[in-house]
Amino acid sequence: MSDLTVNLAGIKMKNPVMSASGTFGSGVEYASVFDVSKMGALVTKGLTKEPKAGNKSPRICETPAGLLNAVGLQNPGVEVFIRDYLPEMLEFGVPVIANIAGSTGDEFVYLAERLTQTGVAGLEVNISCPNVKTGGMALGTVPEVAAEVVKAVVQATDLPVIVKLTPNVTDIKELAQAVAAAGADAISLINTLVGMVIDVDKRKPFLGNCIGGLSGPAIRPVGVRAVWEVSQLVDLPVIGMGGITTGRDALEYIMAGASAVAVGSAFFYDPLAAVKIIDELDQYCTDHGVEKLQDLVGAAWKEK
């Protein structure tokens, strides 16, 4: 067994493989499928202050090597989450990171304060959701706006603050620098790409919400490139995600500069994807004499 551990901005993980927000429920859904306590960390679905009903059906549309989703942040609200879901998530004995999705800066501050001292190990600030009318991506495309939100969240909590960015921008580097300067402890890359499918038979958009977020292997090259760019520029740990389905995919992200990786859509393809990835990372280290997986972070630009 090689050393797969990572200390991500103070969050100690036994390996770098996390669940991607919104794809893993509260973990219990997969508890009978595999040993969830093997994961490096769990990330919750995006949380809001009040319960949110989400978008109308259909919410899922398969696309070549991926899918569009337009869930619209359906969640029970932060109170019910803390009462009914968080305890069972914490039972896995794995760091739980709360993904927060305010529609205003104030809501973000509320969520950050409320979740501090509840047992969660960190916050992931979701200013990148393409499926909501207010907040979401709108807060994550202008550097000044993003920085303001992040600054407020950082002040409201002593938890590590991870900021999740959208790839739907002209220059992700600019945003990464802005949130880094605002005090972020880590950066998650990437949320989904905005996309759309037309139902040719009905001659209208397939999804209830018209547009959706594109995820899965299809977007992997976009995510790898975002990590490559940001990790070279900003001195913060990066969590890479977008289409990771195998250990090699995870290694692409790690070599591009990610300290940790998240698995999302791959659970739909293979519910055992995350555990297989952990095993494959271990195997790779063994086969290639890598003592500490973290030594490979950024290898593709460090060894150039």
Binding site: T23, G25, E29, F34, I60, E62, A65, F268, P271
Partner: protein, 261 residues
């Protein structure tokens, strides 16, 4: 109830029942043991990423002694097409059993089962369990034409089978809803169970309300995870909230849900 698990199952045999309709038999002892009627599984339908998502299929029949599970499906697109080309000895990746199945009292009673088209898939398992628990069954099967009437003999073993086809090529000519309203007028039932296209489910929902008979409907929705984790597969509950078809369903009582367009 045991939670779902991931299995790699060997194909025992696969038969084309009619053009585009297949019966797939898998070696899956644990799934056979742990499934109940109305539950389903998510099957991977590719070697690679095309298609990327798994496909939900209802547990059609189980043989607990032999450790076998059967699926009955129609070829719709590339996922089911791929599936239909699997042969004996091939292995399939499968997650199951999933969802909430049908519920019925162990005390027995008289039930009407309504299956339209390939909607009969989950109903054979249901019918045989009901039968085993002493229920009396009337089973209505409907399809466009004869080739859509699937496994009539197996259903006939579980109760009185009435068949309707739209073109009259098998059984009576007419729609399954015509049949249903006639049969509901004729005699009384303790419970209705239905699976099929939305229009049929809506008809059953309406009639169950009118007649005051409890009904359970098995719904169909696009799914990603199948386990309730992604909140992608919702239908509308009566209170306006969204219910996950893969977790709170796929079987819902007729009063629980609002059926869309």
């Amino acid at each position: 109830m045991k939670g779902p698990e991931e299995f790699s199952c060997r194909v025992i045999e696969q038969d084309a029942l009619a053009p585009d309709y297949y019966l797939l038999k898998l070696e899956a002892p644990e799934l056979a043991r742990n499934s109940s009627p109305g539950q389903f599984a998510m099957l991977r339908c590719s070697e690679g990423y095309d298609p990327f998502l798994r496909r939900p299929l209802a547990i059609h029949q189980v043989d607990r002694n032999k450790g076998q599970v059967l699926f009955l499906y129609q070829v719709r697109g590339k996922g089911t097409k791929w599936l239909s080309m699997r042969c004996q000895h091939d292995k399939l990746s499968l997650l199951g059993p999933l969802g909430r199945g049908f519920s019925f009292s162990a005390a027995g009673g008289r039930a009407m089962i309504v299956g339209a088209g390939v909607g009969v898939a989950p109903l054979l398992f249901l019918a045989s369990e009901l039968r085993a628990q002493g229920w009396d069954l009337v089973i209505l099967m409907g399809a466009r034409n004869k080739s859509g009437i699937l496994r009539p003999d197996a259903f006939r073993e579980c109760g009185d089978l009435i068949i309707a086809t739209e073109d009259g090529s098998c059984g009576e000519q007419g729609t399954i809803l015509d049949l249903l309203s006639r049969e509901l007028a004729k005699s009384s039932f303790d419970k209705l169970f239905a699976c099929g296209p939305l229009s049929v489910l809506k008809g059953v929902q309406t009639m169950s309300r009118e007649k005051g008979i409890a009904a359970e409907l098995s719904l169909d929705e696009r799914m990603a995870c199948g386990v309730g984790a992604c909140v992608g597969c919702v239908c509308q509950g009566h209170d306006g909230s969204y219910l996950r078809v893969c977790k709170e369903g796929p079987v819902f009582s007729a009063e629980e849900v609002v059926l869309g367009e």
